[in-house]
Amino acid sequence: MFIIGELINGMYANIGSAIKERNKAEIQKCALEQLASGADALDVNCGPASRHPLVDMPWLVEAIQEVTDKPLCLDSSKPAVIEEGLKAARNKTIINSTTADPEKLDIIIPLAKQYRSKLIGITISAKGIPQNKDQRLELAATIVATCSEKEFPIEDLYLDPIVLPVNVAQAQMKDILESIHEFRIISDPAPKTIVGLSNVSQGTHVRSLINRTFLTMAVAYGLDSAILDPQDKKLMGALITAELILNKNIYCDSYLEAYRKK
C-alpha cells in the first residue's frame, strides 16, 4: 500500500498558523513524524483559509524538501496553485487532483506530463457527486480515455471513487468498494486506485474505528493507495495486518515491526 500522509493541511490549526507565521520547523516536524510512522509520501494542502495559496504552496514544498526527498502530493482544486507547487518541487510529485470535467482535464493532464508528475483523478464532475457505481465507472472511463488520448501513462494515474461519510451516504459504501475493484479493469495497463480515507468517518463519534474498518475492506477490494493519518497506530496496524492476510508480506511473529523496518 502506498501511504500518503494527510496531516500537512492548513485546515489543521497547527499547520494553518505555521503557514501564516512561516514557521518551517513546525511543517518539517509534521513531515518527519508522518514518514517515521510509515508514510511513503506527503499530502501538501494550504487549507481553505490560506489567503495566498500561490505563495503558500511553494513555500510548503520548499520547507518539506529540506528534510525529505519523498514524493509530495500537491493538493489543491486550483490548477494555478498546483503549478506553483510543481515549479518548486525537486521531489517526485503527485497532482491531487483533477475531476472528470473536460476543461479541468485539459489543463491538469498537460501539467502532469510537463512536470512528469503522477496524477489523481477523482470521479466527480460539474454535475456533482456520483450516486452509484455506474456513474463512478463512467467518470473513471472519461478520465482514463482522456489520459490515453493525451498520452499520459495510465500506470501513473490514481483513480479516486470519492469516499463519502458513512453517516450521509451509507447506501453507497458497497458501490464505492466495488468501484475500487472495477476501476482496475477499465484498461490495460490498469490505473491505480486511491481513497481519501478520513472522509468516511466525517461527523461520526468513532472516527478511527470506521476509518480502519473501511480501509481493511478497501484493501481486500484491491486498493493501491490511501491518503490517511499515518500516526493513527491502530489504523496502520489494521492496514499492515490486512496486507499480511492477503499474502503481500511474509508472516513472522513481529510482522508489525518488520513492516516498519521496511
Binding site: N249, I250, Y251, C252, D253, S254, E257, A258, K261, K262
Partner: protein, 319 residues
Amino acid sequence: METQLVLEKWPGIISTITLGARKEDGGSRAGAVKIGGQNTLPLLFKEGNIPNKPAIAFEVWDVHPEDWPEELVAAYGKALNDPFAWADKCVNEYKAQTLCLRLQGTHPDFGDKGAQEAAKFISALLKKVKVPLVIIGSGDDAKDNQILPACSEAAKGEKCLLGCAVQDNYKTLVASVLADGHSIIAESPIDINIAKQLNILISDMGLNLERIVINPTIGALGYGLEYAYSIMERARLAALSGDKTLASPFICFVGQEAWRAKEAKQTPEQGIIWEVITATSLIQSGADLLVMRHPKAIEKVSKYIDNLMNYGKTLDPKP
C-alpha cells in the same frame, strides 16, 4: 518475429557481506570473499547485477570426523587426524578460498573441549591459514554459548562468519559478533516465518541486518531439497520486492546433508554426484555460500559456477 524477453525490475537488493579482513582492513587474511549484493533472481544476468559469484567453503573439523563415509575419508587421508594439516591441504592443495571450521570436538559427546582450548585452536589456525573463516559451534546450545564467545574474541577483527544463532539461542552469539566485528549465521528450520523473525530479533539487538547470513536449513537431493528450494525462492522474492528483513545472503550446508543420504554411500562416485547435484540446485534457488566436503565435488561445482558467471559476463551491459 524476435521473441521479447520480459524483464523484471526489482526494488530490493540482497546485502553484501565481506568475509575476511586483510591487513588494510585491520585483519590478517590474505584475501577477502564477498557474497550477496545481487538485485535479481539467481543467474538472471539480463535483469540486474550479480556482482559476486556463489562461494564455496571447505568444511574442516577440529577433531577426526568419526562418522564420515570412506570415500570422503579417502579424499583427505591422514590429514583428517590433524585439523591444521587438514586446513592446510584444503588451502594449498585444493586451493580453498574459504574454510568452514566446525568445532565438533567441543560437543559434550564428542570430546567436550573447553572454551580456552577452542579459542587457542582458532588463534593457531588463523596463523596457519590465511583464508577467511566461517566458524560453527557443535550445535549444543549451552556449550556453544561458552565456546563461541571465546572463539569470536580470538578472531577479533578478522571478519569471520559465526554460527549458528537460532530462535531460542541467539543473544550470546549476537553480543560477541557485535563486539568483535564479525557477521552472524541465523539458522531456521526450513521455515521462512522463523527466518524473518530471527533476523528481526538479531537486528533488534543492534547487529545490522547487513551482517546476517541466513542458514535456511536444507535437505539433500531426495531428502527435502525441494522444500529448501521453495523457501529460499520465496524469501528471495520477498527480499527483492523490498522486504529488508529477508534480504540476507544464504549459506547452505551442502556437504553435511548430501553425505548423510544413503544413496551417497552406495556406489563409488555417487556421493560426489549427490553433493554436486544438491549444490547446483541450491545455486539456482539463491545459495550464496556453499559449505562442502568432497574436493572433487567442490571442483566440479566451482567449474559450474565459473561457466555460469562467464556466460553472464558475455551478455550486454545492463540498461
